[in-house]
């Protein structure tokens, strides 16, 4: 019997980072005290009316064009009716029969057997809608089950949301992950969303089914609660394996929504879909059609920046390793890299800093790039200092940390000076330290003489420690070997 084929379609929700909400002037700030960013409109007060956020329509159009989609000349908003306490009006304003964008495409790079393969995922539609509030369950467990009472925070209610629905073109977890990463990179490049999964500003559901190759699509299950790119991949792999096991056992797949349990590494039934919710869609009579003329499409298209795929190709051509290019783009650091290059840094060296130390520091400190205060000039200066030998590699990392800690208030040279970080250039001083280390470590010196090349590393480390990291490791190595006579 032939192998099974996994078929995945992805639904991605992107919260736009517009200053104000979709239908009112409330701020979209994340993390404010509950119910401080609310008004009659987004809290669903009787008589209040929605007015579309022109910026959100623009951003949706821009993303649609970036995805190669067709912009509908006329489209409207529908009401999706269902009762839920965090839905302030008990209907969500969304789009139904005619989405703003249809027929897009996303090409993603997937590593397969050590080689990068280009996969194409078609996008069925991109439509505009609004986010809901958030239920908070107050009680011992913090979950609905066992809660004493519930409270609702409407700060997020009415935040503009885009839903991007792919065709079932994805065949493996890696492609799904690459698709999500690429979407993240695109929305960040466009500046329409910060696309942070941990804050929920980008969310992904996966529709997973399995079949024998060539057969019609199998029954699908929708997987929810995917909180990272990693969990997306794990969940698809687990779900496909589960479905295959059921089918090979002679069972059948029930169409349902399943919840990904990150800790247990399994999906569990959330709700069966046999009782299909009837959303009673109808055109929202509070809103008029959204019209987009060909001229408007051309205007917005002219705003498109260089997209990640093109930027990636450009960086690779400039000598940046593929993995680093991906990290720079995924982290929204392309502009910073370009600024560093413009300020004189070679692209590979600048990319190395951004993809390595900078990314690591931001993640460890939980600081957003935009808040770090790092400029292209800073990066170029740091690269130049290492190049000149003004600081050692170890010191350079300390300098960078200093720049970031001060949120860019002082540049690398100023930080190095303030902290007394400079590479030891006094050959006499270095030679003296080397002689001391050689004298104090006869065993290691003997080992080096016996041809144990790794022992030299321990000696270099001793010299670095003795000089507070200010020695040039290469020069130290040379001096050590000369002193030992190996």
């Amino acid at each position: 019997m032939s192998a099974w084929e996994t078929v995945v379609g992805l639904e991605v929700h992107v919260e736009l980072s517009t200053a104000t909400k979709m239908w009112c002037g409330c701020p979209t700030t994340f993390g404010d005290a509950p119910n401080t960013n609310v008004c009659p409109v987004c809290s669903g007060q009787p008589g209040a009316l929605p007015v579309p956020n022109a910026r959100a329509v623009h951003d949706a159009t821009l993303l649609g064009l970036a995805l190669g989609g067709t912009i509908a000349p006329r489209c409207r908003f529908h009401r999706k009716n269902y009762f839920y306490p965090d839905l302030a009006k008990n209907y969500q304003i969304s789009q139904y029969d005619v989405p703003l964008v249809s027929d897009g495409v996303l090409e993603v790079e997937v590593e397969r057997d050590g080689e990068l393969v280009l996969e194409t995922v078609r996008i069925e539609r991109l439509h505009m809608e609004e986010d809901t509030g958030k239920s908070l369950h107050l009680g011992a467990t913090g979950r609905l089950h066992g809660a004493d009472r519930s409270a609702i925070d409407y700060n997020r209610s009415g935040v503009p949301l885009l839903e991007i629905v792919s065709r079932p073109d994805v065949r493996d977890p890696e492609t799904a992950q690459a698709y999500l990463r690429e979407l993240q990179a695109i929305v960040r490049t466009l500046g329409v969303s910060d696309a942070r999964m941990e804050e929920g500003s980008i969310r992904c559901d996966a529709n997973v089914s399995v079949r024998r190759p060539g057969e019609p699509l199998g029954t699908r299950c929708e997987i929810k609660n995917l909180n990272s790119v990693r969990s997306l991949g794990r969940a698809i792999a687990h779900e496909a394996a589960r479905q295959i096991a059921v089918l090979e056992d002679g069972g059948s797949i029930v169409m349902e929504t399943r919840h990904w349990d990150e800790d247990a590494g399994v999906t569990r039934t959330l709700r069966r879909k046999e009782t299909v919710t009837d959303y009673r869609y109808f055109p929202d009579p509070d809103l008029v059609e959204v019209t987009t003329s060909p001229r408007r499409v051309a205007e917005v298209r002219a705003e498109l920046p260089e997209l990640p795929a093109a930027a990636r190709a450009r960086l690779v051509a400039a000598g940046v390793p593929r993995a680093q290019a991906a990290t720079v783009l995924g982290g929204g650091m392309l502009a910073l890299l370009d600024a560093a290059v413009a300020a004189g840094a070679p692209a590979p060296a600048a990319a190395n800093w951004l993809a390595g130390e900078v990314t690591g520091w931001l993640a460890a400190e939980g600081v957003a790039l935009a808040d770090a205060g790092l400029t292209g000039t800073h990066v170029a200066e740091l690269v130049a200092m290492v190049e000149e030998g003004a600081v050692s590699a170890t010191q350079a990392k300390q300098v960078l940390a200093g720049v970031l800690e001060d949120r860019g208030a002082a540049g690398p040279r100023a930080v190095a000076e303030a902290r007394g970080l400079s590479q030891l250039r006094d050959e006499g001083e270095l030679a003296r330290v080397v002689a001391e280390v050689v004298a104090a470590n006869p065993d290691a010196v003997a080992a080096v003489r016996d041809g144990n090349d790794r022992a030299i590393g321990a000696l270099v480390g001793q010299v670095m420690r003795a000089t507070g990291g200010s020695a040039d490791p290469r020069r130290t190595n040379e001096l050590l070997r000369a002193a030992i006579g190996s």
Binding site: S43, P46, G47, A48, P50, P85, I152, F282, D286
Partner: protein, 518 residues
């Protein structure tokens, strides 16, 4: 404070002029009307905010037009107008004129119930655009008036707070759903009223109470702060005892509003400037389908007399067909409930108004809605939910939407031939409280008014005389409806003014020997 009861018999323009000229203060005008309310309306006239008595405690002649009278706030507003005048500021034509506001429009800090138990205790945190515009014009809002629950009804009997009585006969309804505002103006409790009209809720009560009432072109008046019944149909509009007053109030209310996406962004028609132009040479079309729509003989006779008078005044009159108008009622009673089923979903006990506690959110929603909504509201929510349901939406909601398009096209075609269309406003005169128990019979009151609503065109009802219901009612008012093309609200008022001039109707029930129960 001295209050001259004669002030309650003056129209809005006259009162505004007297205030502007310093012949009387806005406060004196207000006190005269507060006195009238205290005497006739069945409110507990005490304190800053006067509340209506419970239905069981109302006297047999209490009009029960107001649910709440915001007395202190009105006194502040009137005093502010008087201070502005004293300071030499130029005042608008309606500054210092009291007004009765339908309880479906929000006014910050004053309770808004929409005639429902569901919203008991809700105090809106914001002003409707209409409310803001009234305040900017120096109009003094007296309070909030009774209405059919969530504007669903044609008699004001569906109010959770008990029916409003018709000043022409306290045993009869004032029409609805804006019956409270109509009764207030007809009964001399206010010279001006604001109602809302979804399928006839201003025009039919205007006809039943001998008033001028207008439904503006859809989009002419902002709906921001109007608690929605059917969003694609709802429009707020004026009630007054003469056409000029109604036009002046329309002019205050209409205009673009960035807070309402369906608001017409262009400048509204100047309804006041058009008033004196007469009907000489104007082409008037009598809508065949609406003239023949089961009118009582008395209504029909008064209507034909008015048509003849229009002709005599120089208009050319012809009969015009709106072929799909007969489908207006069924289409309306699908579109409006469908929208209502969604609009009223927000009343769930979570955020405001009534809450009936239960173990789960779902059970709390259900208990709250079951208890908070009256029978007619529940009926329409169920009809509307069904009309939008998967498997039925095409046969009901979408079919009704298609009929609506055909009706709009009928109007457009008709307006190629004539300048305005006319019909009786309602098929009969005001009926007795409790006399129409069958919902479908009640819906038939709207037969002549829903076509204009579905097409979005402006329509004004103007009183043209009185008729007997054929069962000994004595004289009760009859209204004539004037419909004009989209945005031609000025034409409605111009023709209404001409009709008023030739008919010479006196809006005071006493002048007709009415105002008593028969």
């Amino acid at each position: 404070m001295s209050a001259d009861p004669a002030l309650t018999r003056l129209g809005a323009a006259a009162l505004g002029a007297a205030v502007g000229a310093g012949e009387v203060t806005a406060r004196e005008v207000l006190e005269a009307h507060l006195d009238a309310i205290a005497a006739r309306d069945g409110v507990v006239a005490d304190g800053d905010v006067w509340h209506a008595r419970d239905a069981a405690d109302l006297g047999p002649d209490d009009l029960h037009a107001f649910l709440v009278v915001t007395a202190a706030r009105a006194r502040d507003a009137a005093d502010a107008v008087d201070r502005r005048r004293a300071a030499g500021e130029a005042l608008g034509p309606l500054a210092g004129v009291p007004l009765a506001l339908k309880d479906v429009l929000t006014m910050r800090g004053a309770p808004t119930t929409c005639g429902s138990r569901m919203l008991e205790g809700w105090v809106p945190p914001y002003d409707a655009t209409v409310t803001e515009r009234l305040a900017a014009a120096g109009i003094v809002v007296l309070g909030k008036t009774n209405m059919d629950e969530f504007a669903m009804g044609s008699s004001t009997e569906n109010s959770a707070y008990g029916p409003t009585r018709n000043p022409w006969d306290p045993d009869r309804v004032p029409g609805g759903s804006s019956g409270g505002s109509a009764a207030a103006v007809a009964g001399g409790l206010a010279p001006l009223g604001v109602g809302t009209d979804t399928g006839g809720s201003i025009r039919q009560p205007a006809a039943f109470t001998g008033l001028v009432g207008g439904k503006p072109t859809y989009g002419a008046v902002s709906r921001y702060g109007l608690v929605a019944f059917a969003s694609s149909l709802d429009q707020a509009g004026p009630f007054a005892r003469d056409v000029t007053d109604a036009a002046l109030l329309h002019a205050v209310m209409a205009g673009p509003d960035p807070r309402d996406a369906t608001s017409d962004p262009t400048d509204p028609a100047d309804v006041v400037a058009a008033l004196g132009r007469g009907v000489e040479g104007l082409r008037v079309g009598v809508v065949e389908e609406l003239e023949e729509a089961g009118c009582e003989p008395g209504v029909r006779a008064v209507f034909l007399a008015a048509v003849a008078a229009l002709e005599a005044a120089g208009a050319t009159v012809e009969r015009v067909s709106l072929p799909h108008a007969g489908y207006g009622l069924p289409a309306y009673y699908l579109v409006a409930p469908a929208e209502a089923s969604s609009n009223l979903a927000r009343f769930d006990g979570v955020r405001y108004g009534r809450r009936v506690d239960a173990a789960t959110a779902e059970a709390m929603n259900a208990a709250t809605r079951g208890e908070g909504f009256g029978p007619e509201v529940r009926r329409r929510i169920m009809i509307g939910t069904h009309a939008l349901s998967s498997g039925y939406v095409d046969a009901y909601y979408l079919q009704a939407a298609r009929v609506r398009t055909l009706i709009a096209r009928d109007f457009a075609t008709a307006f190629d031939r004539v300048d305005v269309l006319i019909s009786p406003t309602a098929p009969g005169v005001a009926f007795r409280i409790g006399a129409v128990a069958d919902p479908l019979a009640m819906y038939r009151n709207d037969v002549a008014t829903v076509p204009a609503s579905l097409a979005g065109v402006p329509a004004v009802s103007v009183p043209i005389g009185t008729a007997d219901d054929g069962a000994g009612s004595g004289p009760l008012p009859v209204g004539l409806q004037i419909m004009a093309p989209l945005r031609a609200d000025d034409r409605c008022y111009r023709v209404a003014r001409a009709v008023e001039a030739v008919v010479g109707f006196d809006p005071d029930p006493a002048a007709h020997g009415a105002g008593v129960r028969r």
